[in-house]
């Protein structure tokens, strides 16, 4: 499978065409989607028209952008004009957005071809893509296992060679965890680096959009297109987008990297072994690796499961049957709203709405939501102190490799524990990525996680590239 970087180069040079690249993608989707349930919607006509347009522009000698003719899969919580957008929920049944998410505008401006919308855990709540109203997605590396979640469809699209790159969203690990389980690079950017306009919110203060790719260079290429200030998102960082592709091969010589005990303690042996091997590889490339402990991280899972549901309980209030999506008729407006939400939301979404509503309620706010905010402040401070001593942090992305479908659906808490290593960065607003390094049980890929201070993406990509080379993908 060609990388996105290669596809763009071929399309720009005329060696290949956007149409040819798209048809290859559509063929693979045709072959594998029924088995894997990756795409909820494939926009065949729209994509073909877009590809033809790009080819026409190339023929006219125009510069069609850094993602010229690159087919890309989009998580189905991103709004695209006229394309069904469901969040894998029955409650958005039939809704087609009248506007594009900023990230989609930027991808299209850069010459990418939007192929379709991928499956996810309903409203991005989950870690296995089993909480989808449209059935689970299967891991292309082993279809008896989950691809991770919530961006499992976008991860599987790349892992199955349907597209070279895709977009996901990461609220507590929803890009990095599936990237780890599918053997991909997955990036959760600095909060505010990528506009959230048009991303259907799960937890607004934690959500970030980021890329999946097979290579570090492809991930950097896509993120460079996505990043940069957007006046339509008040939380968007004011600074111009950083240069990322140019720094991918900067290496780690002279960098201080902290191996964080709390970010691999309790993980499977093969995962711990991969993390330690990654530390050695970074050392071999000239970094100084030191073991550090950030005890505050032990509190973050609990804080996350108060803050994220609290925000979600408010964000998901608008799905009331009045203006769009599902409406279940009832005797009056209040009953209609209740019937619509009862029928439209799945069990995990309802659970989190109830958790969040409770955490914000009068008499409980201070003990739950208020307390969680304090933990969040402690986490931010703890990371800031760590980054005074080191340039980057290293840990595991997930406690285990991809697990079997149904293995963790019985007890929500078991599923929540999947995110224990990824959640801390979301609370801090800092960037992190997962890069494949070594293998574990059944030869499945292991992801190691690199974390850095705000806007340190270029540094993270350089370190990830070192691991990519050391893992045998030069």
């Amino acid at each position: 499978m060609k990388s996105a970087t290669q596809i763009a180069a071929d399309v720009r040079s005329g060696t290949s065409s956007a149409t040819a690249e798209l048809e290859r993608t559509l063929t693979v989707i045709e072959q594998r989607n029924a088995e894997l349930n990756v795409f909820l919607y494939v926009d065949v006509e729209g994509a073909r028209a877009a590809a033809a347009q790009i080819d026409a522009r190339v023929a006219r000698g125009e510069d069609v952008g850094p993602l010229a003719g690159v087919p890309i899969a989009l998580k189905d919580n991103l709004c695209q004009v006229g394309v069904p957008t469901t969040c894998s929920s029955k409650i958005l049944d039939g809704w087609r957005p009248p506007y594009n998410a900023t990230v989609i505008e930027r991808l299209l401006d850069a010459g990418a071809v939007a192929v379709g919308k991928t499956n996810l855990d309903e409203f991005a709540m989950g870690s296995s893509t089993e909480n989808s109203a449209f059935g689970p997605t299967r891991n292309p590396l082993d279809p008896s296992r989950v691809p991770g979640g919530s961006s499992g469809g976008s991860a599987a699209a790349v892992a199955a060679d349907m597209t070279a790159v895709s977009l996901g969203s990461d609220t507590g690990g929803s890009i990095r965890q599936p990237a780890a389980l599918c053997g991909l690079v997955g990036v959760k950017p600095t909060y505010g680096l990528v506009s959230r306009y048009g991303l259907i919110a799960f937890a607004s203060s934690l959500d970030q959009i980021g890329p999946f790719a097979k290579t570090v260079a492809d991930a950097a290429l896509v993120l460079e297109v996505l990043a940069g200030h957007d006046a339509r998102d008040s939380t968007s960082l004011p600074e111009p987008a950083p240069r990322l592709v140019a720094h991918v091969n900067d290496g780690v010589a002279g960098r201080r990297i902290g191996l964080v005990r709390e970010l691999f303690d309790g993980a499977d042996e093969s995962v711990v072994a991969s993390v330690r091997a990654a530390a050695d590889a970074l050392r071999a490339a000239g970094a100084e690796v030191v073991e550090v402990s950030i005890p505050e991280l032990a509190l973050t899972l609990s804080a996350y499961y108060l803050i994220a549901p609290a925000e979600a309980s408010s964000n998901l209030a608008r799905f009331d049957g009045v203006r769009y999506g599902l409406r279940v008729s009832a005797e009056d407006v209040t009953a209609m709203m209740e019937a619509t939400r009862t029928a439209g939301f799945g069990a995990e979404v309802k659970r989190r709405i109830m958790l969040g509503t409770y955490a914000l309620s009068a008499g409980y706010y201070d003990a739950y939501y208020g307390q969680a905010l304090k933990v969040r402040t402690l986490t931010i401070d703890a990371f800031a102190r760590a980054y005074q001593r080191v340039d980057l942090l290293l840990g595991a992305t997930t406690p285990s490799v991809a697990f079997a479908l149904g293995a963790k659906t019985a007890d929500p808490m078991t599923m929540y524990l999947n995110d224990v290593f990824t959640i801390p960065t979301n609370l801090a607003g800092d960037p992190a990525l997962s890069v494949p390094f070594g293998t574990g049980e059944a030869g499945l890929p292991v992801g190691v996680q690199l974390l850095g201070p705000g806007r340190s993406e270029a540094r993270l990509f350089a370190a990830a590239r070192v691991l990519e080379i050391a893992d045998g993908r030069p």
Binding site: N77, L78, C79, T85, C87, L92, W95, P97, P98, Y99, A101, R196, Y197, G198, L199, I200, A201, A203, S204, S205, A231, R232, D233, S234, T235, A310, E311, S313, S314, A317, R318, F319, D320, V322, R323, Y324, D332, V333, T334, M337, T357, L360, S361, A362, Y365, Y369
Partner: protein
Amino acid sequence: MTLPDGWEMVVGLEVHTELLTRSKLFCGCANHFGSEPNTNICPVCLGLPGSLPVLNREAVDFAMRIGMALHCTIAPSTFHRKNYFYPDQSKDYQISQYDLPINSGGYLDLPDASRVAIERAHMEEDTGKSTHLGGSGRLAGADSSLVDYNRCGVPLVEIVSGPDIRSSAQARLYAAELRGILIATGASDGRLEEGSMRFDANVSVRRPGAPFGTRCEIKNLNSLRSLQRAIDYEALRQIELIDGGGVVRQETRHWDENRGETSTLRVKEDADDYRYFRDPDLVDLAPDQAWQDRVRAALAPMPAARRAAVVALLAAPSEAQLDAVEVVIDLGLERYVHGVAAAGGDAALAVARVANELAADVDHVANLPVDAFVSTLAMEQRGELSATQAKTVLGEVLRHGGDPRAIAAARGFEQLSSDTLGATVATLIASNPDEWSRYRDGDDKLAQFFIGQVMKLTRGQANGKAVIAELQARR
């Protein structure tokens, strides 16, 4: 209205005012009253999935103007979400300011010399408008409901007073003075009938000096008259309840304008838990000093200062004259009074003419330059025009514009003061010999008789003072 002996009411007001921004609080949609339903809407104010709010800086300007006019402290503030389900609220939460409002700790001095504390004046977004068909016209029991989201997201400032008001008349005075201030800041058009200002009243009663009683909140009062009536009704209701051995329950009450009474909307125990929390889609608002200075520098004078400036031109003004000054200030027409005073004319006369003639045709004041008004009143004072003629000239200029002197000349007003008037007076003396002899013998009351007769003959075009001068010349 006075309360029964030994009772005092305690009132605090919450006033919502829509801001006259060009666009809505968090999106670029037009902020316009009266458009076709659901035409001023976009993904943001419609709360479509994935949309995000961006704060309108012009709304912040207006909010700060209001705060400055009310002597508030302007502080860094935040936006919260007030969560509750209602069809006319597109996100099922309202973005509002909660524990950290932009304006706090001010006051408002009323014309009766009392001072009412302003606890806060914060920003929030308005909801859409529901129309319920069938049933009682309210949500419960309606056959169907229609929602218009044009108003959804329109910027509001809510001004919360301290519990400093002690009578319904004072509440009305506060509301009227606040309305004048809001208009003067340019933040609001003050149009109560269009709902651009709405009042909630918190009312309790107590024995003077006793701690505050339990309060009830009367929601959505839309006129000064309703405000005053509702407060009176509610205070008396509470007194009768307590006198009868009952206890006031803290509750929200609805004012029925037709029946003239309040009724329970919901009791405190059933009150919504709004689950306020910081809106993660918005950042803190902290206008820097330069921004604040810019707003302050552009602030127009407030009604109290403008009122004082006009009153200072009047010698021992009567109650009626003060009422007329109020009309002048309310309409923002004091430039005419100041123009007359600056030219050495009669300010009291100017106030009277503005409060009557100009107020009657306020939409056309653009046709009447200040110097035209000044010259018309000068003609009247010099006796070249009678009061009636002066009013006619003003009315003509207001309707069509033009030079007052030319209009007076075209109507033949000016000749009356000399030859015509003398001839008319001479004719009347000849035809009323009894009255004339009594007048000559010193009965000055008869002057009024002759003036009346002259007016009749000239169809009101004569000047009373000029008639007296003619009479005295012949006495």
